[in-house]
């Protein structure tokens, strides 16, 4: 088991390296380097730029050196000092800006995953056991429908329905009173009141996909001989169902975490923009629109790294639940 985990972790290293290169390319894409933008910015504010400062910064980020040296300096800064560079638009180090928002992104994604799983498994089982019933058709149709509605449309429609029909203002994760308040039971309750809508909106697309997968997996299992044997031996239908086929059908579902997680994080980003949640989404969009590339690149890097770690955890989970994987 430990060997398997170690192997998976070693495999993740090239992926992490490749992701960092992609993030670095994105930082380098806009024309001109970081300092030209920064100086233009300072000059537009009427500030005089001292030649010494510029030279010092050029040295610090290695901007006068070949591209691979720049990459090395950038990644070394992140790994050794946790230095992600400076957001020139906001005039602060990137690290000051992102951790809080990244935390909320992670929390929102985790809540969404829990919601998706808690709902998808029972519906998938019901759909498979009652194949071709009205509830099966309804579940299938809804699954296709929610797969076809983009996240942000769902968010906008949900907000429209909430405000036009229920007279509730939506957006944000807290009421104005609680935004800066320290955590308390009241704040937690307020958070719960706000968070369910984004969680449902982000989750519906993945939920639909998971229901389909759960249904297909279980249908495969239900037609296998061991089910007939158990039934012939007089096992009760519910016990039989939950004890063998459902457990087997759950395994492939765990492996779907590998792509559900990127989808949920993508959805979280775009839904956050629409619903103005204090997560990475709005910050990333603003950074990209302002070409604040160190901030944007760091966000993309961290989001991707989190996804890769999530996928790694799902691989390990799968190995724990399914011994066959470990032995391969």
């Amino acid at each position: 088991m430990l060997r398997y985990i170690a192997k998976r972790m070693v495999f993740a290293i090239p992926t992490l390296f490749a992701v960092s290169i992609v993030a670095f390319i994105i930082i380098q894409l806009p024309p001109g380097d970081y300092l030209t933008t920064l100086m233009a910015d300072w000059a537009s504010q009427g500030g005089a730029v001292e030649a010494g400062t510029v030279a010092a910064m050029r040295e610090r980020y290695g901007l006068d050196q070949p591209i691979y040296v720049q990459y090395f300096k950038w990644i070394a800064g992140i790994l050794t000092r946790g230095d992600f560079g400076i957001s020139f638009e906001l005039g602060k180090p990137v690290t000051e800006l992102i951790w809080n928002r990244l935390g909320f992104s992670l929390l929102l994604s985790l809540l969404t995953l829990c919601f998706v799983w808690a709902i998808a498994i029972p519906i998938g089982i019901l759909s498979a056991v009652r194949q071709y019933s009205i509830s099966d058709y309804a579940a299938t149709f809804l699954a296709f429908f929610f797969l076809a509605v983009p996240d942000f449309l769902m968010a906008l429609s949900a907000m429209y329905v909430m405000s036009a029909w229920f007279g509730q203002s939506v957006g944000g994760l807290f009421s104005p009173d609680y935004v800066d308040a320290p955590w308390s039971l009241g704040k937690l309750a307020d958070f719960a009141q706000h968070v369910w809508l984004p969680v449902v909106v982000i989750g519906l697309g993945s939920l639909a996909a998971l229901v389909r997968i759960m249904r297909a997996n279980l249908l495969d299992e239900l037609s296998k001989p061991y089910v007939t044997t158990a039934r012939a031996k007089g096992m009760s239908e519910l016990e039989l169902l939950l004890r063998y086929p459902v457990r087997l059908a759950l395994n492939p579902l765990i492996s779907t975490l590998g792509w559900i997680l990127p989808a949920v994080i993508s959805g979280e980003i775009i839904v956050s923009v629409v619903m103005s949640l204090p997560t990475t989404g709005p910050l990333l969009l603003r950074a990209l629109l302002a070409q604040d590339m160190y901030l944007a690149g760091s966000l993309i890097l961290l989001i991707s790294v989190l996804t890769i770690i999530g996928t790694l955890i799902s691989d390990i989970l799968l190995a724990i639940t399914d011994p066959r994987i470990r032995l391969q």
Partner: protein, 384 residues
């Protein structure tokens, strides 16, 4: 595959004529027979063909110029089209009466049943245009019979600048639907080439390509696309932006196709008919194009169809965020930019729901179609 061919002779004779037909039917005939049973997929095929026709003949179908502004009718609500008046067939809309709400300082429009505006088919166009870019035309599919200044025909309402949403959605179909096709074409080339190389050569080439695909699939797509799309200079000509966005969007799309092709190559490489062909002295290239490709081409078509909707959704999301296509290009995502905040949506819900309906219907239909095609690509499964 073996379900039918390996049946013992006595059961073969007990099969009905239809079954025996199945046993000797060609690949495409089986494909069609299976596909035909999937009624929703069949209906979706019709819907999709209809939508692409609308996109192709957008100039003819849209009653108004999609870029024509009209300050008089900002945020005009949809005018419902009635077919009958006083019991006789006379398509018309009611003229909009504008009043200024002094409390909210907004214009409010109410339809005035006393002033019907007659609508008819094949009305002369205000400006001549070229249908499909080549056929000079002076007729529109429908429009006001005698348009006078102050009359309006907003079937799905008007936007902030008084532009006709219906005409804009119809014109948006050109970009939004074609991005899926162009993107899928790029994915097809990338996916078949890379997947084919991976499956055919195997070994370390296969390993490297599989790692690359895993990498691309493990990165959340939206931030990645956002990063690349945001780097497109604002001053670029629309056509170039369009192609770069298509490229970015198909960056991920090819991976599923490559996997499909690789999987098929691996599983078919040692099938009896391939070994037989190899023993007969057929060249590897000949085997690939004569035996392998025809046997999985239906799977490729199904995977491609399923890839189109995700590309449409990607373009829509990027344009909606303001980093994909930009006005004056009209796409469904660009139209949704107008509905970006909840205030605009609350004031004029049609800004959101008209393009949204177009997106959802086309994506839904493409998904159903792809699903039907995928089922049909395995014609022997659950036939008996």
């Amino acid at each position: 595959m073996t379900d039918i061919t390996s049946l013992p002779p006595e059961t073969t004779t007990s099969l009905d004529l239809h079954g025996r037909d199945m046993a000797v039917a060609g690949q495409w005939r089986l494909f069609w027979l299976k596909f035909k049973k999937h009624k929703i997929a069949l209906l979706s095929l019709v819907v999709i063909l209809f939508m692409y026709l609308v996109a192709a003949f957008a100039d003819f179908i849209a009653p108004l110029d999609p870029n024509a502004t009209n300050a008089r009718f900002t945020y005009a609500p949809p005018q419902s089209l009635s077919l009958f008046r006083d019991g006789s067939f006379e398509p018309h809309v009611n003229q909009l009466k504008m009043t200024l709400n002094t409390e909210s300082m907004r214009r409010e429009f109410t339809p005035d049943p006393a002033k019907p505006l007659s609508v008819s088919f094949f009305v002369p166009a205000q400006q001549p245009y070229d249908l499909l870019g080549v056929i000079p035309m002076r007729t529109k599919l429908f429009g006001l019979t005698n348009p006078k200044p102050g009359d309006s025909l907003y079937v799905f309402g008007a936007d902030r600048l008084g532009r006709d949403i219906f005409s804009r959605v119809v014109h948006g179909a050109k970009i939004s639907l074609s991005i899926g096709l162009v993107g899928v074409f790029i994915s097809l080339i990338l996916g078949v080439t890379i997947g084919g190389i991976s499956g055919f050569f195997g070994g370390w080439v296969d390993l490297a390509i599989q790692r690359l695909i895993e990498l691309l699939r493990s990165i959340p797509t939206i931030p990645l696309w956002m990063g690349f799309a945001a780097a497109i200079p604002v001053g670029w000509p629309p056509l170039r932006t369009y192609f770069v966005i298509t490229l970015i969007v198909s960056l991920i799309g090819w991976t599923s196709l490559a996997r499909e092709v690789r999987g098929k190559f691996l599983s078919l490489r040692n099938e009896d008919f391939v070994i037989a062909a190899r023993l007969d002295g057929m060249s590897e290239i000949g085997i690939i194009f004569h035996h392998l490709v025809p046997s999985f081409i239906s799977h490729i078509i199904a995977t491609l169809t399923l890839a189109i909707p995700s590309m449409i959704l990607a373009e829509t999301a990027l344009s909606f965020l303001g980093i994909g296509l930009q006005p004056p290009i009209i796409s469904w995502g660009v139209l949704l930019q107008e509905a970006q905040n909840i205030r605009a949506v609350a004031q004029a819900p049609w800004l959101l729901f008209t393009p949204a309906a177009a997106i959802v219907i086309s994506v839904l239909a493409l998904n159903f179609l792809g699903d039907g095609l995928r089922d049909a690509a395995d014609p022997y499964e659950s036939v008996s």
